[in-house]
């Protein structure tokens, strides 16, 4: 197993290295090594290296860190939700966080013209949507299967915020605001700044680690509530932790980069083909695969054409055929 993780980490590191050198301004490997050597060993950058330093540190590195973190966060929260809801077709948006975030961002874009407020609204409304879903669930408590009711609450909350989003779009200024909202919804990693990504990387990494930490309990939750209880698991506590953490890292991801779909659904399936269903192995694998996948897709997004292709479109274009292929080879997922 260790050898397998090392392979995945090496592949990810290789992708990071390639992503640093690839781009509109191509940096050769020779320049890269020269730059890294000067940076780390001699700590002295000449003028041409200064420009490379600028491109790498200011432009490419923040994007790469964001792609890695967001890819890992979506994949891990998707896999956690799938285990918790005992349903392999669930994705991180099941409790409404993505719809809430989308509405929040659109609202901020329509009424303010401030990048920070857009992110703040997006994050806040993502959390609010999940709180609303849980509130709906509470109305039905003790009356039926709790997982099913939670999903129902999520669907209700998700639809409510999608409707609100439509209202904002409908009333927004069609020449200036509407295009920005639509563009934001398609997702992009191009607005991320270095100091910001460093700050949010702490809660995101922590969140991913916590989900990996509860993975042995997730295994048991994917049988039934009662079986888990009979084995001495505090099911309520584990569910609460998973919902809070997965919601937080998903909301941060959306507020950073807009709507990027599919990762939370396909990467867990793909990872399950490789390592099986045991969440203790599955979640770390999902984190590494999700990170690598989004990083690769983002490279296509910035280099495929003269203009940047919205990454939400590309993850779907690449994700759908992969999903069809994966489902074909894992019939069990749908049985």
């Amino acid at each position: 197993m260790k050898a397998f993780y090392i392979k995945l980490v090496l592949i990810l590191l290789l992708c990071i290295f390639l992503s640093l050198s690839l781009g509109k301004y191509s940096i050769s490997f020779e320049q890269m090594f020269h730059y890294l050597y000067s940076l780390i060993v001699s700590n002295n950058l000449n003028e041409s290296l200064q420009m490379i330093d600028n491109i790498i540190i200011e432009i490419r590195l923040p994007r790469i860190i964001a792609a890695v973190l967001i890819g890992a966060a979506y994949a891990v929260s998707g896999a956690s939700f799938q285990a918790m809801f005992i349903n392999p077709l669930v994705s991180p948006g099941i409790l409404g966080v993505l719809s809430g975030s989308a509405f929040g961002a659109a609202l901020a874009i329509a009424f303010f013209d401030n990048w920070f407020l857009t992110q703040f609204f997006s994050f806040t409304f993502g959390i609010l949507a999940v709180v609303f879903a849980i509130f709906v669930t509470m109305l039905y408590q003790n009356r039926a299967n709790s997982s099913l009711i939670l999903i129902l609450g999520g669907i209700i909350s998700g639809s409510a915020f999608s409707t609100l989003l439509s209202i904002v779009k409908f009333t927004a200024d069609p020449y200036e605001k509407l295009p920005s909202i639509v563009y934001w919804l398609m997702g992009s990693l191009s607005f991320i700044e270095l100091n910001q990504i460093i700050i949010v990387s702490i809660p995101m990494l922590l969140g991913i680690l916590i989900l990996v930490g509860v993975s042995k309990y997730l295994n048991i939750l994917s049988f039934s509530e009662e079986e888990a209880k009979s084995m001495g698991v505090n099911t309520k506590l584990i569910r609460t932790i998973v919902i809070i953490v997965a919601t937080l890292i998903s909301a941060i991801s959306v507020s950073l980069a807009g709507m990027i779909g599919w990762i939370g659904l396909i990467i867990p399936h793909f990872a399950r083909l490789l390592v099986g269903a045991n969440n203790q192995v599955l979640l770390p694998t999902c984190a590494l695969l999700g990170a690598t996948f989004l990083l690769i897709v983002d490279n296509f997004s910035r280099m495929l054409f003269e203009f940047e292709v919205p990454i939400g479109i590309l993850t779907s274009v690449i994700g759908i055929p992969i999903f069809i292929f994966v489902l074909r080879s894992s019939k069990k997922a749908l049985q």
Partner: protein, 257 residues
């Protein structure tokens, strides 16, 4: 060992069980019989402390089940559910290992000792050869045995089984009954719900009949399962016979229908 004292239970607004009392000793096999909806499964869930009773209490080793912390209760009493369909492909060994969770701290993971205990439990039920197979690919009987192995690996002395043989074919059903009997001889205490009075004759030392939310009869299986009691429990007509090995069995009379 297990004492149920004057338990009543209400689900939403409906009274499900009223004033249930009985007690069993170590090594007993208790069969709980009753019509569909008579509250058999609810009673099991009250013993497992999933529900809080409206009134009364369940004592295990003279201590109320709700006063145990969750982990130490899991070391006393294990639950064998009816095997369900699982959308994820866990291996049999992974499934059995899960029951070792009550022996873990938040940060630890299953040790090689836990693994040995899991394999020992599989060997106990003579299904060690299944350990690397996917749980979801197994037959109903094999799944049920794996779930029992999981309960054994939990190292609890009391096993609670909810209709363990309900979905099994005839030979698997008998294999399961004989495994349950073997377990009780090794000192396990077993409570199972069943729809078949013959199961109680074959393996159960005690029988509890539930009717109209109350205990209809409780005691040694041969004394409780009389023709009269079975007839009025299910509103049917049966005849009791005795096999050459002096085991009683009942045959229903179909002409009533």
């Amino acid at each position: 060992m297990i004492e149920v004292k004057n338990i009543s239970f209400k689900y939403i607004d409906e009274l499900i069980l009223s004033n249930i009392s009985f007690s069993i000793k170590k090594g007993d096999i208790l069969a709980i019989l009753g019509e569909n909806g008579s509250g058999k499964s609810t009673l099991l869930k009250l013993i497992l402390s999933f529900f809080k009773p409206l009134d009364g209490e369940v004592l295990i080793d003279n201590k109320n089940v709700h006063l145990y912390n969750k982990k130490s209760l899991a070391k006393k009493i294990a639950y064998v559910p009816q095997s369900s369909n699982l959308p994820f492909s866990y291996t049999v060994l992974e499934v059995v290992l899960m029951s070792r969770i009550s022996y873990q701290s938040i940060f630890s993971t299953y040790s090689s000792k836990d693994k040995d205990i899991a394999i020992e439990a599989l060997r106990h039920l003579e299904i060690e050869f299944l350990k690397d197979r996917f749980f979801c690919d197994l037959s109903g009987g094999q799944k049920q045995l794996v779930l029992i192995a999981r309960a054994l690996a939990q190292k609890a002395e009391i096993l609670i089984m909810d209709e363990p043989s309900s979905s099994l074919d005839y030979s698997n059903e008998l294999m399961l009954l004989s495994q349950i009997k073997k377990l009780s001889k090794k000192g396990f205490t077993i409570i199972q719900t069943t729809h078949n009075p013959n199961h109680a004759f074959l393996i159960s030392s005690k029988t509890l009949l539930l009717k109209d939310k109350k205990v209809f009869a409780f005691g040694h299986s041969n004394e409780v399962l009389t023709q009269k009691n079975i007839n009025s429990l299910y509103n049917i007509k049966v005849e009791l016979q005795e096999s050459s090995e002096k085991i009683k069995f009942c045959i229903p009379k179909l002409d009533r229908y």
